[in-house]
Amino acid sequence: MFLQTQQITKEFGKLRAVNNVSLEIVKGDIHAIIGPNGAGKSTYFNLVTGYHRATSGKVIFKGKEITHLPAYSRCNLGITRSFQITSIYPKLTVYESVLQGLLCHRKVTLNFFSSAKKFFKEEVCRILEDVGLADQANTLGDSISHGDKKRLELAITLGTEPELLCLDEPTCGMSPEETDVAMSLIKKFSEERGLTILFTEHDMSVVFGIAKRISVLHQGTLIADGTPQEVRASEEVQKVYLGGSA
């Protein structure tokens, strides 16, 4: 059991954004959470990554209950996330941004006297090459294109060498070409690094093109969970989400 949520619920006042969702994410899978707007995808995501705390239910990661752990502790256990609205460091260079992920993960952030730039040169360069940002290493985060910012965020998260990478709408705002590049990158990382990837996405071609397993949320409730074929065949999913066109 890699990641498991047991009857997890999140209420915001009277609104039940996530309702009794029990789900298991298998190690090494690319697992998509889909659903129409307001289905509770992002909230579910936030419950897994520690952005929100669950009203009830449990989140279990590698056999350890993490329901009440703060976000930074979950990250230290191996869960890293990206945000729907790209979250990078605007005034740090691309190189420094990726370095920060490595400094955090390798626990050297309490070193007060060595120069930060001397650390992990090779690792940073390798990640930058992998995501295709090596030629922009010295550019400031806010000076690169939107697609590159998304890639930079991915590079920052890779610096933490996560076991579970949670990507909230990783292709949001990207052109079709950028989307293709980003998805092939994600697939590559999953295969090469053995990363487990949990992602939310609204673009169905992306989801069915890459996910090994898909869970469908509707009004906070899990209505389907299975392989792309199973989900595609589900009548309920077709009714509420795919409009019968899948």
Binding site: Y72, C75, P90, F112, T157
Partner: protein, 326 residues
């Protein structure tokens, strides 16, 4: 590779020459300046240390502490009381002053780091004023508004020139340590928290813990500034802890440029010397200072060094562009 190393060496030499020149000027300052201006220079150096400590939080961590003078004054009081009341060893009194600032910084910081932005600023201001009022009102123990007089350094430091060199040494060593901290992985983490604390938290950093560590370091250096100033001035008074005093490093950082390490130092030098000079003409110093700050904010956003740095960068980019063209 060899070219890279040579280039690196060149840039260090180029960058280092003016710092070396500046240091030589500081070394020969006592033989150039009158005693009055030497004491102003001492004040500028001590206040610059306070400004550097403040800027660790403001320029690098992105939080405005409006109570930095409280640690400066508290440490000054600790030294003054230990030296005058119990005739404690001078050097150990300095250490005790810094420790006091650090410990109180830990307590104040524990509450402040839970907040961000304006709330952080207001809470530091409130704690600063609270400490000021305690010192001001506790007449039996602290001397209240009379302050404490007769805080003398050891005999060999009694001449202004000797004490100036002592201050210069402490300032240089402290500035070096702060510089190293800012360049370190810890400093890099502070900068990343300033840029995007949410992103940094989701990389595994306990933001409050790191802010608290930075807060204590800043309080310690502010304390060091207070500890070395009081024996030079021979006295301490409650206004050292007051919010107006806390405002000085804020203004110095804005004046000089918070993103540049020596920005607050330049700002504090301008303020201190300008203050001494303007007082010769008018007692309405705050009006002049206010006008200066307005000019800087409107015409040099990013402070003097921040503005100069931007312009230099633009020039360099333009030059690179021209070189790149056939």
């Amino acid at each position: 590779m060899l070219t890279n190393q040579t280039e690196k060496k060149d840039s260090i030499v180029k960058r280092g020459w003016w710092l070396g020149l500046l240091f030589i000027l500081f070394l020969i300052a006592p033989s150039i300046l009158s005693e009055f201006y030497l004491s102003i220079l001492c004040e500028a150096l001590v206040m610059s240390l306070l400004a550097l400590s403040f800027n660790l939080l403001f320029g690098y961590m992105g939080q405005l502490s409006f109570g930095q003078a409280a640690f400066y004054g508290l440490s000054g009081y600790t030294v003054a009381m230990l030296v005058t009341k119990v005739h404690f060893n001078f050097w150990l009194s300095l250490v005790a002053g810094v420790l006091m600032a650090g410990v109180i910084g830990l307590v104040v910081g524990y509450f402040c780091v839970r907040l961000r932005g304006i709330y952080f600023a207001v809470l530091t201001l409130a704690f600063g004023q609270l400490l000021f009022v305690i010192i001001y009102k506790w007449h039996n123990f602290t001397g209240g508004d009379d302050g404490i007089q007769g805080v003398f350094p050891p005999d060999f430091l009694k001449s202004p020139t000797a004490y100036y060199y002592f201050i210069l040494l402490v300032f240089t060593a402290s500035a070096y340590v702060l510089w190293r901290i800012i360049q370190s992985p810890f400093g890099q983490t502070l900068k990343s928290m300033r840029e995007n604390s949410e992103r940094t938290e989701f990389l595994g950093i306990n933001i409050a813990r790191y802010q608290l560590i930075a807060f204590v370091i800043a309080a310690g250096f502010a304390g060091l500034a207070g500890a070395i100033w009081v024996p030079f001035y021979r006295s301490v008074a409650p206004f050292y802890l007051m919010w107006i005093k806390s405002g000085e490093p804020v203004m110095a950082a804005i004046l000089g440029g918070p993103p540049i390490f020596l920005g607050p130092v330049l700002g504090m030098f301008i303020m201190t010397f300008f203050h001494a000079w303007v007082l010769g003409f008018t007692i309405y110093w705050p009006v002049v200072m206010g006008a200066l700050i307005l000019v800087i904010i409107f015409f040099l956003p990013g402070g003097i060094l921040g503005f100069a740095h931007e312009k230099l960068k633009e020039r360099k980019e333009k030059l690179n562009l021209t070189k790149g063209q056939p």
